[in-house]
């Protein structure tokens, strides 16, 4: 590979296909640490653990009574939390494959669940338009705090070291800053389906259901960049940053995986990108450390791992 000029191209060589889910895969997340494993949650009410490299299914976690909409993994990879139509957050022990705790409290299905850094708090954002923060250290059944500012369903959620960002269908991105003790709500105008801050937490990548992905300055709410071209107006398609946060990657509802240059918002080649999934791509996640690995989860029931073509093959 030639020394990089500009952003690295998106890995577009199919490495392995993970296809044991019966029905759409709603979420696919890398494990923490070296991120060798992938956890996927699907409409078939199971969470599956895969080896991303070999493409083998390691384990199936089946306790959900409804679809799994969100999965979050603790920093030590020992446990993870999942949520979905059950209206409860399920805490799992990865090794035993059993739920260690089920946290009821939401009135409706939980769209998103997220751990904080040390997995002492789990936040769950629900269709009932609330975010509930649960303490995992104590056995308290009640939520520590309920964030009820949203006027519509919470679709996405991110927990930073000192802040919580929620994206809601009411078109707001709300940043709850714990240190400042203030809530900054940025109005996007369209249902927000995906939020991902950069590492320095200065900017937010916000995907909304108007075929736009926006890069928002976290400090003043200004729009730094606007990424368009893909089609995303009815489903939650998670957008993410590419390696080194130089690119923005998002799968769209036509099964294409788009990539943009972060700085000039130009669509990276190939434009338009090839269709890689039969149905919409629900989740796109770049490998946290490796440069050339992206996973895409799709409604066609498969999760695909993309890598750069290995030289010499």
């Amino acid at each position: 590979m030639a020394p990089s000029r500009g952003p690295q191209p998106l890995p577009r060589t199919l490495h392995v296909v993970l296809e044991n889910h019966k029905g759409p895969v709603n979420v696919a997340r890398y494990s923490k640490g070296t991120s060798k494993y992938i956890l996927t949650g699907g409409q078939d009410r199971t969470v599956k653990l895969w080896n991303a490299n070999l493409g083998t299914e390691i384990k199936t976690f089946a306790a959900h009574g409804y679809e799994v909409l969100s999965v979050t993994i603790s920093q030590d990879n020992a446990k993870f939390a999942s949520s979905g139509g059950d209206r409860s957050v399920f805490l799992w022990d990865v090794a035993t494959g059993a739920t260690t705790r089920r946290i009821p409290g939401h009135m409706l299905k939980i769209h998103v669940v997220e751990f904080n850094e040390d997995a002492s708090i789990v936040a769950s954002g629900s269709y009932d338009s609330t975010v509930r923060l649960w303490d995992l250290r104590s056995q308290n059944r009640q939520a520590i705090q309920v964030l009820e500012e949203a006027r519509d369903a919470i679709q996405t959620l991110h927990i930073g070291p000192t802040f919580i960002i929620t994206g809601s269908v009411d078109g707001h991105v709300r940043t709850y800053d714990l240190r400042m003790g203030e809530l900054r709500s940025d109005f996007i105008g369209h249902p927000v389906t995906s939020i991902l801050p950069t590492q320095d937490a200065q900017t937010l990548l916000v995907a909304s259901l108007d075929n736009h992905i926006r890069l928002i300055d976290a400090s003043n709410g200004k729009m730094l960049n606007d990424f368009t071209g893909h089609s995303n107006d009815s489903y939650r398609c998670r957008a993410c940053f590419g390696h080194g946060e130089a690119t923005v990657i998002c799968g769209d509802e036509k099964g294409q995986m788009w990539a943009w240059d972060l700085l000039d918002a130009s669509i990276l080649q190939p434009n338009p990108p090839p269709k890689i999934h039969n149905k919409l791509i629900t989740w796109t996640e770049h490998h946290p450390t490796e440069s050339g690995e992206v996973i895409t989860a799709s409604a066609d029931g498969t999760v695909k791992v993309w890598r750069h073509p290995v030289l010499g093959e």
Partner: protein, 868 residues
């Protein structure tokens, strides 16, 4: 297994209780229950072993006298508990309640049942016997010939015999004065009654009836002066012929009797004695034969129970009655003969007049093409009835429907019926007034009202319109019109009508000035007159109370303020539609304008301050703890708390770096922020607890807070702990190697150490000048330290200090937390002297330190202001 079988088996030598004996061979279905469990009721028990129980489970037929009924408790006088003489209980109190004992009280239920059964028979026989007795008595009065029964006797008999069961109708009739034997209807004159008597016929036989007719002497002068009840109409009871006898055959009559030979009839059957216990069901037994009653011997054979007339058996009364009547008639008939001398068959009568054959008329020929039209008939009928109604005023001729349709009022009806008219309603007050008073009131009224001619008499019927006269209805008295003009306006909901109403009233009030109300264009004259009528009515209705009475009443405010109702389907006109559309557009625009500018901005893509809203948000303390973030301590927005430190860790870092004190990193890493935040958080923690006791008003203890809130304790704590830890510090310091310049050591080190500490503790920007006193004190301390150990590295020390303070702070703060924050303050003076005593070497600097807090407070206030 039955007991006998068991015994037998036992005799043979089989172990009955063994499993084999009880082995179950039942493979299919449910086996019968074992015999031990179910009592074999069919098992033979010898007679002497049998026990008898009654239906209540009591044992019967026991004891030595088996075969008899049990009495008492097992034929003893005792009870189950034994026999005990009853204690005396006075029945005096109960005497009033106690009924006289009847035989039934001492009877068993069986006996009572028997009694009941027998009583039923007695009841029926009683009824029968009562009637039968009467019958027999009545029969006794019959003339042996059987033709002429004494009418008086007959009447008496009829009247004395009560109806066996009065029907409701009979009861009503009796209450209305009807007596048995009288006819129904109004009483009548003697003449008419006699007429009735003359025309009376027996419906059964067709013969003239003499019974029941008036029996008055011809020369009775008084008789004409009375009215008489109408003649009783004999009810025609047609007996069903349900036998196979020939016509006229009377069962039980001998041939001779049936042939009319009355005298030949002898006593052929035994005469039965009427009396108690003899019923239809009873056979003519020897006991029932009337041995004594020989005197009343009739020519007929009397049979108590006629086997042929089997259907008569339940109601003997009717049977007898009809029987007797039949016999009467038979007896009557039997005397008539044909002209040729032959007697007429029983049951037949010889006609007096020859039978006239009915004349038959041929049907009228129906014209071809005729169709029945009932409507025409009805209309003719109606016309006829109307004619009838108009022609004949007799109310009897009216059917109910026509009567209802007739417009006769109740009064008219009363007059027709000759009723006395009802007393008139309560009269007016004025009727009770004397003439003078009336005049006076009239004068008052004349003065009060504009219309002097107004009369106060209640009969101002000039305004009350009578329907047929139009001129009077549309015309109003001027004063009434004027009054109505001032009074209640009835047509406020319809302005046009109201205007016309007022115009009408004005025209009526002053007819000379204004002409009569002009009809609206294309308004028919009858519509106009109707309208005027309405106005006149309204005016007379709604004219205000006049004169002296006006002040006595307040009119109930009934205002019809409802929306104007448009009749028919609403069809919006084009203009209306346009107007509404315009309005809608305007509203939309307004709404768009009114809508959040942020929406507007977002649609334009102008993200930034326009789309951002920043509101205070209070994170849960536990949440902050879990995130490792200092509690921001956000309270009500806009509140300025002098002691609240809202500075973030970032700012803190900035300050420290500004001061050249940033020892580790420029940007906020978790470690430094955490420590700083933690410390400040803990130093602030007591504040929250203090606020708890202050109730709702947060400014309640403000002055005391500001006054009593020195950071003394903090300093004190610092110094105290420093003193305590001096030795360790010294030891540590000695180990450290120093690379820093010693020259600026003392001053700079001391100052910066101190400022750093305060910064960490309070998170405040500060004016170094203000800290001079503390600096001096600190300097003194550091000097001492310096004396002992001059080789301290600045940074190292800095770190050390921080750590130390952290640890000490931790101890101190936890202590503070436990004690409840500001509650420490009253305790401060106590503590301070103690610590003072401990810190003997720092006496000099104390005063300055004491002076310090107010300054600090001032700084804090300023700092908060900046922050917010």
């Amino acid at each position: 297994m039955t007991s006998r079988l068991k015994r037998k088996l036992g005799d043979i030598g089989v172990d009955v209780s063994s499993k084999k004996a009880n082995e179950n061979f039942c493979l299919i279905g449910t086996p019968l229950p074992p015999l031990e469990k179910s009592k074999d009721t069919g098992e033979f028990v010898p007679l002497w072993k049998q026990e008898v129980y009654d239906e209540k489970g009591r044992r019967r037929l026991h004891g030595a006298f088996t075969g008899g009924w049990s009495a008492g408790y097992f034929n003893t006088v005792g009870t189950k508990e034994g026999w005990a003489p009853s204690t005396f209980v006075s029945s005096r109190d109960e005497r009033a309640k106690k009924q006289s004992a009847r035989p039934e009280d001492f009877m068993d239920e069986e006996d009572l049942q028997d009694l009941k059964d027998s009583r039923n028979i007695v009841d029926t026989t009683e009824e029968m016997d009562f009637l039968g007795g009467k019958q027999s008595g009545a029969l006794g009065d019959i003339d042996p010939s059987g033709i002429n029964i004494d009418p008086l006797t007959n009447t008496l008999q009829a009247s004395l015999l009560p109806a066996p069961k009065d029907s409701v109708g009979a009861k009503i009739l009796k209450k209305m004065g009807w007596r048995l034997g009288q006819g129904i209807g109004p009483r009548m004159s003697l003449k008419r009654r006699k007429e009735q008597d003359a025309h009376a016929y027996d419906p059964l036989t067709g013969h003239r009836l003499t019974s029941g007719s008036l029996n008055l002497p011809e020369d009775d002068e008084e008789a004409d002066k009375h009215t008489y009840a109408p003649r009783d109409t004999v009810v025609l009871v047609v007996k069903r012929k349900d036998n196979v006898h020939g016509l006229g055959y009377v069962p039980g009559l001998s041939l001779q009797e049936s042939l009319g030979d009355a005298n030949s009839g002898g006593l052929s059957g035994p005469k039965l004695a009427g009396g108690f216990g003899l019923g239809a069901l009873n056979d003519a037994d020897d006991d029932d034969l009337d041995v004594y009653e020989h005197s009343q011997q009739t020519h007929r054979r009397r049979v108590a129970y006629d086997q042929i007339d089997g259907d008569d058996n339940d109601t003997v009364l009717i049977g007898f009655k009809t029987d007797s009547r039949r016999r009467d008639s038979i007896a009557q008939v039997s005397t008539s003969h044909f002209r040729n001398g032959r007697s007429v068959l029983a049951g037949f009568a010889v006609l007096d007049a020859p039978v006239i054959e009915d004349k038959w008329f041929p049907l009228p020929e129906i014209p071809a093409g005729w169709k029945p039209d009932p409507k025409r008939v009805w209309s003719i009928d109606q016309a006829n009835s109307q004619v009838l109604h108009t022609s004949t005023q007799r109310p009897e001729s009216l059917t109910h429907a026509t009567f209802k349709r007739s417009t006769i009022t109740a009064d008219q009806r009363g007059a027709l019926l000759g009723e006395t008219p009802l007393p008139p309603g309560p009269r007016s007050v004025f009727d009770y007034m004397s003439g003078k008073d009336k005049e006076r009131i009239q004068k008052i009224a004349a003065n009060l009202t504009t219309a002097p001619g107004m009369t106060t008499s209640p009969g101002t019927s000039a305004t009350v319109p009578t329907p047929p006269v139009r001129s009077s209805t549309t015309r109003l008295e001027p004063h009434v019109a004027q009054a109505a003009l001032k009074g209640f306006q009835p047509f406020t909901t319809d302005p046009v009508k109201q205007a016309r109403y007022t115009a009408y009233l004005q025209s009526q009030a002053d007819p000379s000035a204004l002409g009569p109300l002009q009809p609206l264009p294309n308004q028919a004259s009858d519509v106009l007159s109707k309208e005027l009528e309405d106005y006149a009515k309204a005016a007379s209705l709604f004219k205000p109370m006049s004169g002296a009475m006006a002040g006595r009443f307040t009119s109930a405010a009934v205002l019809d303020m409802g929306p104007k109702v448009v009749e028919g389907l609403h069809q919006p006109s084009l203009a209306e539609l346009e107007a509404s559309e315009k309005r809608k557009k305007e509203e939309e625009e307004k709404a768009r304008e009114k809508a959040d500018p942020k929406v507007h901005a977002a649609t334009l893509g102008m993200y930034g301050p326009m789309t951002r809203e920043v509101t205070p948000w209070v994170p849960n303390r536990l949440l902050c703890k879990r995130f490792g973030v200092k509690d921001p301590d956000i309270k009500l927005p806009g509140e300025v708390d002098p002691s609240t430190s809202t500075s973030s860790g970032r700012e803190n870092d900035g300050q420290t770096s500004d001061l050249g004190l940033s020892t580790t990193k420029g940007d906020s890493t978790a470690g430094t922020t955490l420590s700083a935040a933690e410390i400040s958080y803990r130093s602030d923690a007591p504040r929250d607890i203090t606020n708890i006791g202050l109730g709702e008003d947060e400014t309640q203890g403000q002055d005391t807070l500001t006054y009593q809130r020195p950071s003394m304790d903090i300093f004190k704590a610092i110094f105290a702990s420093d003193d305590e830890d001096e030795d360790e510090e010294e030891a540590d310091d000695k180990d450290e190697d120093n690379e820093d310049v010693k020259a600026e050591k003392q001053l700079v080190e001391g100052e910066k150490q101190f400022t750093n500490a305060t910064l960490i503790l309070d998170d405040k920007p500060f004016d170094p000048n203000n800290f001079k006193p503390t600096f001096t004190r600190r300097e003194g301390k550091s000097k001492e330290k310096g004396d002992r150990n001059t080789e301290k590295s600045r940074e190292k020390k800095e770190k050390e200090k921080k750590e130390k303070k952290k640890s000490k702070k931790g101890v101190l703060v936890s202590f503070e937390l436990e004690e409840g924050g500001e509650d420490l303050e009253p305790r401060q003076p106590k503590d301070r002297p103690l610590k003072k005593k401990r810190r003997k070497e720092e006496d000099a600097s104390q005063a300055m330190v004491v002076d310090d807090p107010p300054l600090k407070v001032a700084i804090r206030k300023r700092a908060v202001d900046f922050m917010d």
